[in-house]
């Protein structure tokens, strides 16, 4: 190469190529639904194996999409008393509970100024469809505090269109800080027991300090409470992915 002066320029090595291995990225991101992980206890692992077979069987016939707490879902259920024998409910998922076939999720919405929460079972055969309308994780695992938050945070349009899905990318985390109605609340959300990061507390410093009195800092060092699920998850992930492939 010759520079503008005409003299030979110092050799500059070409920039190293950055290889973004999309295949590898896709494999790394794997989601195992939390109801597959068995709780700690003295139950025979055979019972969980049999339950998982049933769950995989249901998933083959009916698609249960990947969703977290904070997603906005639309669920159509078969209802013998509805007009078209099917009822549709749109809401934000505030909680996912239960293990195995009895796993449930609670959707919340505010319809005509009335807060409504519906608890659905994931494996109930009456559910016709589950659509994910908005993909976003929140800062907490449990959004029960939305009951005491201003209603604007729980209202979602019933005829919302599904958001465009960014395939094989990480689920975005919405770091929204929710503003609350004035106290009293249904639970004392400022206490460290609930460990909520998604509320904008407008309480005076004194109250926040008083709430810290109920903190239990020894809990994170308690070894008997540790439940390491990584190996169990790996085994179950292999089982589930093989079952779904067939």
């Amino acid at each position: 190469r010759v520079s503008s002066d005409g003299k030979p320029e110092k050799f500059q090595p070409p920039p190293k190529p950055v290889i973004i291995d999309k295949q590898k990225q896709r494999e790394e991101r794997r989601f195992l639904s939390p109801e597959f992980i068995p709780p700690r206890g003295r139950t025979d692992p055979l019972k969980f194996y049999i339950e998982r077979k049933d769950m995989i069987q249901r998933r083959k016939v009916f698609n249960i999409p990947e969703f977290y707490v904070g997603h906005v879902l639309a669920v159509t259920t078969a209802d013998p008393y509805a007009n078209e024998k099917a009822s549709r409910f749109v809401g934000i998922c505030i909680q996912r509970g239960g293990k195995g076939l009895g796993a449930t999720f609670v959707l919340r919405n505010v319809i005509e100024d009335q807060g409504v929460e519906m608890c659905y079972e994931l494996y109930n055969p009456r559910i016709q469809a589950i659509e994910v309308l908005k993909l976003e994780k929140r800062l907490d695992d449990n959004l029960m505090y939305l009951r005491d938050a201003l209603p604007e945070y729980s209202t979602f349009d019933v005829n919302m269109k599904p958001m465009s899905r960014l395939d094989h990318e990480e689920v975005p985390v919405n770091k929204l800080q929710v503003r609350m109605k004035p106290k009293p609340w249904s639970k004392r959300w400022e206490r460290p027991k609930y460990n909520i990061k998604g509320i904008k507390f407008d309480l005076p410093e004194k109250k926040m300090k008083e709430a810290q009195k109920w903190s239990q800092p020894w809990l994170e060092f308690d070894m008997l409470r540790e439940y390491d699920t990584s190996k169990i998850e790996d085994k179950i992930w292999k089982e589930v992915s093989e079952g779904l492939k067939n």
Partner: protein, 242 residues
Amino acid sequence: MMPIWTKSGKKHAVTLLKVQDCHVLRYISKEESGGKTSKLLVGGKNASPFFKSESAMEIFKEAGVPRKQKVTTFNVTDDAIIKPGTPLYAAHFRPGQFVDVTAKTIGKGFQGVMKRWGFKGQPASHGQTKTHRRPGAISTNKAAKVYRGKKMPGKMGNIYRTSFGLKVWRINTKHDIIYVNGSVPGHTNCLVKVKDSKLPTYKDCNKNPPFPTYFADGDEKLPEDLYDEEIFQFTDPSVTYA
């Protein structure tokens, strides 16, 4: 315990019972036992042979079977006698049958009268002196004694109790599991005795049971799962009301 859905969309709770290494141990004839029917001794789960005396192990040696943790008697009619040493499987029961399940209830230890018998106790305040969970009066003045069987504090649980008339929803022949409606006495993984129901409403419900029992080396080849007619099987599409 697990949920189960019917084709009409209703949910029922179901208990899973595993038939683990059951063998017939001995046949006792009517005259020998002195009862109205002949008896069959059946043994349950396999256990270690080292912790029992030689005399106790005789029954198992005769039948040619490893030592069993639990041995129970079943009253059997003469046409249903089985040779000692035959294994018993979950396919002995069929979906749609009704069944009684007996087991030892969870032991609660020494319990007071409120938990054991459901007494109401006394109020928490308004002047009660040291009396909040006590039985109160135990008899009348005229009786001048306490009747036998008076409900009082004592050891609660760890006794045999039966749940009657439980429907069998599903049978897994590969793992020998019976899915029985509702709850069953006993803790998880405890030993349980399953019999045909004695209730008069279910007297004629068994259409074609495997008689005297289901033999694994017989001609019948059963599928891995046997379902009741009303159960929603997960291979079907979702339930709709047309």
